[in-house]
């Protein structure tokens, strides 16, 4: 259900960002990881170069490698199957599969969730992109707020501790502050540096504390 709505929102947002129908559908078929797709069309709409836009989308997709790592231990897929299974390694399939008690249940969970979401995501993307054309001015309908609202909803459960709040706060400052001075698409990449910066500052503080004891 939630995936269906995001797929629709993505189709609308992508069309509103100036991508054609085949481009929008190609993204959902080939990229198939929501946050990266939203980031890419947002960066392109803001006038970013294709490579800076793709870099932002890529870094958002890196988390899937860590899902894959845990999934490969649970599912133990034969090597020849892995290139086919890889496209379905996303937030939702990882969450469902890793919650299963046995390897067999994990494999079934992964296949069923992967197939269902892949079909749903692509179908709703198509509907959203077609709908956007029928709707006309997406701004008048407030649909330009859908993208950032999706980001916020994805972000909220990730922010639990002070470290995460500090990273998010610093990233907002960097992302907005650097916007007028750096080329489009680059400020988001610079904002990603908030993660190592905060980790480094925390590590330093902890070391100082221990020395003080």
């Amino acid at each position: 259900m939630a995936v269906g709505l995001s797929g629709f929102a993505f189709g609308v947002t992508s069309a509103g960002s100036g991508l054609t129908l085949p481009q929008t559908c190609a993204l959902s078929l080939l990229v198939f990881t929501g946050a990266s797709q939203f980031a890419l069309v947002g960066a392109l709409a803001a006038g970013g170069s294709p490579f800076t836009a793709a870099a932002g989308a890529f870094f958002l997709g890196v988390r899937n490698a860590f899902y894959g790592l845990r999934l490969s231990q649970l599912l133990a897929l034969p090597r020849f199957l892995r290139p086919f299974a890889a496209q379905w390694v996303i937030d939702e399939t990882a969450a469902v599969s890793l919650a299963q008690p046995t390897r067999r249940a994990g494999r079934i969970g992964f296949a069923v969730t992967g197939l269902t979401l892949y079909v749903l995501w692509n179908l709703t993307t198509l509907l959203g992109a077609l709908g956007a054309d029928a709707i006309g001015d997406t701004r008048a309908w407030g649909l330009d707020a859908a993208g950032p609202a999706v980001f916020l909803a994805l972000l909220a459960p990730m922010v639990r501790s002070g470290t995460e709040r500090a990273v998010a706060g610093l990233a907002v400052l960097l992302g907005l502050g650097l916007l007028p001075v750096l080329p489009a698409g680059v400020p988001v990449l610079a904002a990603a540096l908030a993660a190592p910066l905060v980790l480094w500052a925390r590590g330093r503080r902890e070391r100082t504390k221990e020395e003080g004891r």
Binding site: L19, A54, N64, G68, V89, G175, L193
Partner: protein, 102 residues
């Protein structure tokens, strides 16, 4: 054309990281620092993207109806509303504020 380049590069990059996780032996990526960074980089990216797509038009900072929409989405998240409601709230409030001429 440049849009297709961006799509191609993103599709390839995102597919390779997905496959990498399934192929590399456990332990290579399984280090505390790498795991911490992998968890925190999406936080930084999503926070920056949310802010930019709410408070900027292109490269210029602006305060418009989207700010009201996102504030109401944040409120919906605090009230533990489902994903669907959060996004719908942002869209409806933004449209409403625009319709009122703000």
């Amino acid at each position: 054309m440049s849009t297709w380049i961006a799509i191609g590069v993103t599709a390839l990059g995102c597919y390779v990281v997905k496959l990498l996780g399934l192929l590399v032996p456990a332990g290579v990526l399984d280090r505390p620092l790498v795991k911490r960074l992998a968890a925190l980089v999406p936080v930084a990216l999503l926070a920056a993207l949310t802010a930019q797509q709410t408070f900027a038009d292109g490269r210029m900072p602006v305060l418009d109806a989207r700010a009201a929409g996102l504030a109401s989405a944040a409120l919906a998240l605090l009230l533990r509303a489902p994903f669907l409601v959060v996004v719908a709230t942002a869209v409806v409030v933004t449209a409403g504020v625009r319709a009122l001429g703000a």
